[in-house]
Symmetry: C2
Subunit: 395 residues, 2 copies
């Protein structure tokens, strides 16, 4: 009457990750406005369309001159030049005020520093000679036409957006955000609403566009409604019990599960497969297992599909275990932790109600399948999900 | 003709941070739907409205029984119980299948593990005695009515949303996102568009709601248009030169600058003040100084106002400098860096065009005002802005 748990057949977690990674081909791009591109992944490299700078510039605050006008000047034998507005072309005997970053006036080939000149009315007393090119930033100094400005695959943050705009770019090609159908087959309202809201938030965090689909008893119908999508998440009815009809429903909808059961905990009844051309991830229906199953497998798939890195979007830090962790050989185990300064305390996830524990956690670690756990005092890599822990200081 | 830079009068960076922090009183909250609450900061603690669980539950998969029905059972002298559906109330001599997390049938006071029973049709052979309470999770085990479920100030991620939903919460009180008027007074289009897009993205990243205002030559008019706002950023015309009319314009609009000039670089001509009741931050108009001025001062203000932590929303890691950094005593210096494994290389920010450098950086560090820089090989705290660097591995 109670179905056996088929541990022996479960796919190792690293193999499940490899399956997920193999689904993350990076084909699709879309053009969007630069002003809406924050956080997106660039799909095609941007090149400098012209030399940068595209003309000679002053590197310092001072006076634009022809170098030859200053030859022979010293503090004992100053030379006098006539100051003209900076719009005027320069010839020998003239100078004009210029600031760092400004285009050199036509004719000028050097910039005299402020300290080497003394302006009195329209007369500049030059106290030092400068060589041709002194104080001048040459055209093409930063980049030449055709050089790569932003490399495909980079994430667009504020400096990248400002640089792209300075190239005259108003639209650009970015990796498309994957459309993710989240089919809720397990719990009933309001539990299913809760899980839906949490999963939708995670999909959004990982650059996906979520669409929630409630089954209302008809899983094959809901699955039919899930396509088109880039990824399908089927949540619930994933186990080996009598009412666990996810696998039958997937078959009925024309999909298939390639691997049922992953050697991880929680989330061991997860599955990997296909619905049409879309990768389908089957996740358990209880909230804890669903959320952690998402974090261990689905989030990785979405981040890779969106062009990002596989790792969790949280900082990782090496911290010391205050208590031992016991874990089963052969199973990768997700362990939430509480931080106490540089020490971490692993938390139990009570079977019946781990949500309250998970909501209090500062982060988590994953015990690899090959280990029986960790002794107290072991230094371990912890993913810190709570931003109150990162502990930066400004100075 | 060239205005002097008034280094001596600049406010130390740490004092500017303290001024910013003093503006970040945390008064305003708003009620929103739980399903839209991802990433927000909870303004009022949520309490458990009932004991959790609110009735006794099974902790294991097995058979609900009255403990007394099993007394005397052993593998040599098994006792026989009658299996009934789990909806039926239990009395002595009966048992029903139950799974972990399920409510205990009425009358039951213990759960026999699967291994201790052998079901044959409607008969359960009991091979071990259990004590009253064995395998049972008592009502209120996780929390009692009135206990704190989520503490005010916590950031709402997936587990917190799922927990709140499981409490029956559909709306909750979160910290309001600050409205930020970004007044662009410096560069002309398209440079000002670029800067606007980049600053709007940073404001959004830091939980603010940006509103871009282009000055078109009339800064006092644009400032008048900036209110109401929780924060005003005035970008450009911040220096000490002839065309730097930001301070005059702020006065003309009825605002004031309390500190002009911060001992930091880039961004040294930044200012701190007020426009009406809103804190006003004056930032330089060149893109590099504006973006870094934002990162050093404005972002901190927005994150604090939104209820978050002051630190940058990026991981920090301790890494080794491959080259020396020379910095001026008395000035806090922002230095972008490139990562090479565990080593970092500081980048120059060319005066005339640092955007291309900043867009390539993997992160940054801030040299405190009290240091002349760092020797090669020094271990320093680096804020990693590039997500390709964090280098987590799953296992």
């Amino acid at each position: 009457m109670i179905a056996p748990q088929r541990f022996a057949e479960r796919l190792p977690f690293v193999d499940a990750c490899a399956w997920v990674d193999a689904r993350a081909d990076r084909s699709c791009a879309e053009r969007i406005y630069l002003r809406e591109s924050f956080g997106r992944i660039l799909a095609e490299s941007l090149l400098f369309p012209v030399d940068r700078p595209d003309r000679d510039q002053s590197l310092i605050d001072g006076y634009a001159v022809l170098a030859e006008s200053t030859f022979g000047a010293s503090s004992y034998t100053p030379l006098l030049l006539t100051l003209v507005p900076r719009s005027a072309p320069l010839v020998a005997g003239l100078a004009s005020v210029c600031h760092a970053g400004e285009t050199l006036p036509s004719g000028a080939d050097a910039v005299l520093s402020r300290e080497a000149g003394d302006a009195v009315g329209a007369v500049l007393e030059v106290c030092d000679a400068v060589a041709r090119g002194a104080g001048v930033g040459r055209r093409g100094r930063v980049a030449l036409r055709g050089d790569v400005a932003l490399t495909a695959g980079c994430r667009l943050a504020a400096p990248q957006i400002a640089l792209a705009a300075s190239l005259g770019v108003a639209e650009l090609s970015v990796r498309r955000r994957p459309h993710v159908a989240v089919v809720l087959a397990g719990a009933k309202p309001p539990a299913t609403e809760a899980l839906g809201a949490a999963l939708a938030a995670l999909v959004t965090r990982d650059s996906g566009i979520p669409r929630l689909i409630h089954c209302e008893g008809n899983i094959p119908g809901a699955l039919a409604n899930a396509l088109p999508a880039d990824v399908v998440l089927l949540v619930g009815r994933s186990g080996w019990g009598e009412d666990d009809d996810a696998l039958r429903s997937i078959s009925a909808a024309g999909g298939r599960i390639v691997h049922h059961g992953v050697a991880m905990t929680p989330g061991g009844s997860s599955g990997l497969g296909w619905l049409g051309a879309a990768p389908l991830l089957l996740l358990p229906g209880d909230p804890i297992s669903a959320l952690i199953g998402y974090e261990l497998l689905a989030g990785r798939l979405l981040r890779r599909l969106a062009g990002g890195v596989a790792s969790w979007p949280y900082p990782m830090r090496r911290l010391t275990l205050a208590r031992k962790i016991v874990s089963s050989i052969g199973i990768s185990e997700f362990v939430p932790v509480i931080c106490n300064g540089c020490e971490i305390v692993p938390m139990a996830l009570p079977l019946a109600d781990g949500l309250a524990a998970l909501a209090r956690a500062d982060g988590f670690l994953v015990v690899p399948a090959g280990l029986e756990g960790y002794a107290p005092g072991t230094s371990v890599n912890v993913v810190l999900t709570s931003d109150s822990i990162s502990g930066q200081e400004s100075g």
